[in-house]
């Protein structure tokens, strides 16, 4: 998948020729070792394509691992904290996995492709951890990161666009469902998943067909105002929709070198992903202890007064500093100033009123703002289209 002919240190994805052609701003970033666009033409317009029409985001740098073999389900059940048996064939489940200390290593999605056939789509490279987890299990793990590339096709008109591409009856696909098609003689897999909180799909294909897929997608989507999306626009959408980001909202446990910098699922508001009715999974003993003894932190979504994003802010309760912000954005659709924060227990319960200490500058003039904020109990952006089947027509 990599284009190393120019001896670049950052790799490029199989969509790169097309991405580069459309990247009017020439604004690039490094996403997990790949050259990826921060923005194509205008962050806000890209964001509004996601919310109003269709946005396309190149997901190829995500890591993909195929898990097959007689013990595949048991293997995953020990690996992740939720009950894998509840993910049916051709269904996807959001999941997190922990180390033995109950600290979150990564989050990702588990695609069930067959009875004992799964694909893990993870943010972090996980080869080493997945290999260690093989001990005692009859499974084969294959790193498919370069064998499968993907595009997130998200937004209200995404179903229509993909149907025009040849994904017939796609509107019947339920959220977290998987449908299989053939595209130019290649297998094309579509999952109704995404990172934007709205109607949307992720499209997976072998790298040889990447450029053709991109071309045809933009051709059929032209009338539906399809736009490419850079990582800045996606960041806005995911904060609005309530999604956590590894390396931003938590540090993957294996990457952490300082004591106390890891977080448990409870401390990230992900207790709903932890199923103690399973007798064994990595981190279970430690998490049971934490459940009994209490957590150190609480993940809080804050609705911050004003319109200055509370980036990197300290969170105060009275005079006491009780937390820090990990992600923050002014969310255009919800028209709300949202921040994710790590709050020390016992603060940060829903409804708790706190203060964000925001610093911002205009023309080198710094201003300190003490913005009142309130802990909200659900993401601010809620699109009914995300859950409707058949997918609503635009």
């Amino acid at each position: 998948m990599s284009d190393v002919s120019r001896d670049t240190m950052l790799l490029t994805t199989p969509f790169h020729s097309r991405v580069e052609a459309m990247c009017d701003l020439n604004d690039w970033g490094n996403w997990m070792g790949y050259t990826t666009p921060n923005a194509y033409f205008d962050v806000e317009l890209e964001y509004f394509a996601l919310r109003s029409t269709t946005g396309v985001f190149d997901l190829s740098p995500m890591n993909k691992y195929r898990v097959t073999g007689p013990d595949a389900q048991r293997y995953l059940d020990r690996l992740i904290t939720r009950d894998v048996s509840k993910i049916g064939v051709n269904r996807v489940g959001y999941a997190i996995w922990c180390d033995d200390n109950g600290q979150v290593m990564d989050d990702g999605t588990i695609f069930r492709l067959g009875e004992q056939d799964y694909r893990i789509c993870s943010y972090q490279r996980a080869d080493d951890w997945l290999a260690w987890n093989k001990l005692g299990f009859d499974v084969t793990i294959e790193n498919e990161s370069e064998a499968v590339v993907g595009l997130a096709v998200q937004g209200p008109t995404s179903c229509t666009v993909l149907t025009l591409l040849g994904c017939h009856d796609l509107n019947q696909l339920k959220p977290f469902g998987i449908a299989h098609y053939t595209f130019e003689g290649q297998p094309l897999m579509v999952s109704r998943t995404g990172f934007t909180g709205d109607l949307g799909y992720e499209v997976w294909i072998p790298p040889e067909s990447a450029e053709t897929l991109w071309d045809q997608l933009f051709q059929v989507g032209h009338d539906y105002l399809i736009k490419p999306i850079g990582s800045y626009a996606l960041e806005l959408a995911r904060i609005e929709a309530g999604f956590l980001q590894a390396n931003v909202d938590f540090m993957p446990a294996e990457e952490v070198v300082r004591v106390g910098r890891t977080r448990s699922p409870f401390e990230l508001g992900l207790s709903w992903l932890v199923d103690f009715s399973k007798p064994l999974f990595n981190g279970r003993s430690a998490l049971l202890k934490e459940q009994a003894n209490g957590s150190r932190y609480r993940f809080a979504m804050l609705d911050v007064e004003g319109n200055k994003p509370a980036e990197h802010s300290f969170i105060l309760k009275g005079d006491k500093q009780v937390g820090t912000v990990t992600s923050a954005a002014w969310c255009p659709t919800a028209k709300a100033n949202i921040a994710y924060a790590q709050i020390e227990m016992p603060y940060g319960a829903a409804g708790d009123e706190l203060v964000a200490e925001i610093y911002y500058q205009r023309e080198l003039h710094w201003t300190r703002l003490l913005a009142p904020c309130k802990v909200i109990d659900a993401p601010i952006f809620k699109s009914p289209k995300r859950w409707q089947t058949p997918a609503p027509p635009h």
Binding site: D71, R74, R78, L79, D99, D100, N101, W129, W132, N133, L135, G136, F137, P279, L280, F281, N282, G283, R284, S285
Partner: protein
């Protein structure tokens, strides 16, 4: 309702000691072992008709005497021989003799003699500190627990009582190797290597290997555990195993020998009992494994039954050995050049120099046979004639360094190695070959098969600082508990480690009772 309060896997000395303490406290305990004789490494076997050999350990040098007292093992028939001198055999028959704090012979000069006394004194003070830690559960450093704090306070106090020079020496040497320490203290090559031998028995380390000062000090704790010097058990090591078995049964423990545990059963999130090779199951509130950590976690419980980090740690746990045993049935007492008959009852070693030890070690690393072996010899029949037919004798030797699986294979390798060992002995004991009626060579892979010790390692896992104290066998499974609910360890793979010492079994029982796990 379970069959037993606790089922103990392995009737080795630690398993039986643990059973005795638990049964003494009124607990309903069963001990299961695949071998038909109790004792584990403290066992005997008739390797050829009439010759009753201690088939694994041959010396008792650090058995905790508080256990002998607590369990009245003397009343159960345990009898130890006299403390032995160590005679380091020299090619010119002017042998070096180490007896207590005295060293003589082989031209050892007064400077080395004085240095030996000083060295012994230093080792004694260090070993005393270690004994403080050995008689307690290993203290965890990070958890604020009063039992652990008390142990650390005692240790701190004893450290404070060391002189400034001693403390400095301890900090300096404890992490390094015995080779460098010997060269700092002594000039006589055989004196250095004779001391260094105690640092490597049962391991696959050479004198230059890191951690050999720690393993040496481990051996040196014997004196503080109430045992002065190396001894043999009258009646053979099996007599110790039998005495422990009798004691365990006397206190009410049930022994089931001859049927191995094939699996540790886990129901839901906790261990609930064991399944035997016969298919029978035994349920218990807790399972205490005296098997080594690798056997316990990998083979009996299974990696799929534990969290992945624990499986990973088990895989990383080092448990290899370069130690073999030679058993010879002799038609008469052999003659060793330069030794009196009476001296044949002492501990005889062949270890010419530390370099010769390293030279013996090197081929083993590449799965080859060595050409000059290191011997640790016992002729137990001199002190205890009953072990062999009247007038006949037996020689047993711990032999370093022998690969676990040589490239030439053991079928071809064993006869070759046996011949070679006899040839090497012949140099010091001319005519011994002609006296051999029967012989047996037990290599590391044999020990793994017969005694269930992974890699043939006598300590149930290398005794090194990274696998010691609060890290034995590995973090997450320390203080005799494991990361799996209901599963405990009581063997040499737990603190304070190997040798026929008994403390892991004793400490495990005390900890289990203290925790109220039963």
């Amino acid at each position: 309702m379970t069959d037993y309060d606790a089922v103990i896997i392995g009737a080795g000395h630690n398993g039986l000691i643990c059973a005795s303490y638990l049964a003494k406290a009124g607990k309903h305990v069963m001990v299961i072992d695949g071998r038909t004789e109790p004792g584990g490494c403290a066992s005997s076997r008739e390797f050829t008709p009439g010759f009753n050999v201690s088939d694994c350990a041959q010396w008792l040098s650090q058995f905790d005497q508080s256990i002998v007292k607590d369990l009245d093992l003397k009343g159960a028939g345990l009898s130890l021989g006299k403390a032995k001198a160590t005679i380091s055999l020299q090619p010119d028959a002017d042998h070096l003799i180490l007896d207590g704090d005295q060293v003589s012979g082989a031209g050892v000069d007064p400077v080395d003699q004085a240095a030996y006394r000083d060295f012994r004194e230093m080792v004694r003070s260090f070993a005393k500190l270690m004994t403080t830690l050995y008689r307690n559960r290993p203290p965890k450093l990070v958890e604020q627990n009063w039992t652990d704090r008390f142990t650390l306070m005692k240790l701190g106090l004893k450290l404070k009582m060391l002189s400034r020079e001693r403390l400095r020496d301890l900090m300096r040497v404890v992490m390094i190797n015995i080779y460098d320490v010997m060269n700092e203290h002594f000039s006589h090559p055989a004196l250095k290597s004779t001391i260094a031998l105690d640092a490597v028995t049962g391991t696959n380390m050479g004198p230059r290997s890191p951690n050999t000062v720690y393993s040496y000090l481990h051996r040196a704790t014997g004196e503080h555990l109430g045992q002065t010097g190396t001894t043999q058990v009258i009646g053979g090591m099996g007599a110790l195993g039998k005495a422990l078995a009798t004691t365990a049964e006397k206190h009410g423990a049930t022994l089931k020998l001859g049927t191995a545990v094939s699996a540790i059963d886990k129901t839901g999130d906790r261990v609930t009992g064991v399944t035997l090779a016969s298919g029978e199951t035994v349920s218990a509130k807790i399972v205490i494994s005296n098997a080594d950590p690798t056997t316990t976690f990998r083979d009996l419980l299974g990696y799929h039954q534990m969290e992945a980090g624990m499986a990973k740690r088990t895989e990383h746990y080092r448990s290899r050995s370069g130690t073999a045993k030679l058993h010879l049935a002799l038609s008469a007492l052999p003659t060793f050049t330069g030794l009196t008959e009476a001296q044949l009852s002492e501990r005889l070693v062949i270890t010419p120099s530390m370099d010769s030890m390293e030279t013996a070690l090197n081929p083993m690393k590449y799965r080859e046979l060595s050409s000059g072996h290191i011997f640790d010899i016992s002729i137990p029949t001199v002190e205890d004639p009953g072990l062999a037919p009247v007038g006949e004798h037996m020689l047993t030797a711990i032999v370093h360094y022998v690969p676990f699986a040589p490239d030439i294979g053991w079928e071809a390798g064993k006869p070759r190695l046996l011949n070679q060992l006899l040839e090497e002995l012949e140099a010091y004991a001319p005519g011994i070959g002609a006296l051999v009626k029967a012989s047996e060579l037990v290599v590391p892979s044999d020990f793994e098969a017969s005694h269930g010790m992974t890699g043939g390692n006598w300590h149930h896992g290398e005794l090194s600082i990274d696998q010691a104290l609060m890290m034995r066998p590995f973090p997450g499974s320390t203080q005799y508990a494991t990361a799996v609910d209901g599963l405990y360890l009581c063997g040499a793979g737990a603190h304070p480690g190997g040798s026929i010492q008994g403390l892991p079994g004793r400490n495990a029982a005390k900890e289990i009772l203290k925790r109220g796990a039963l």
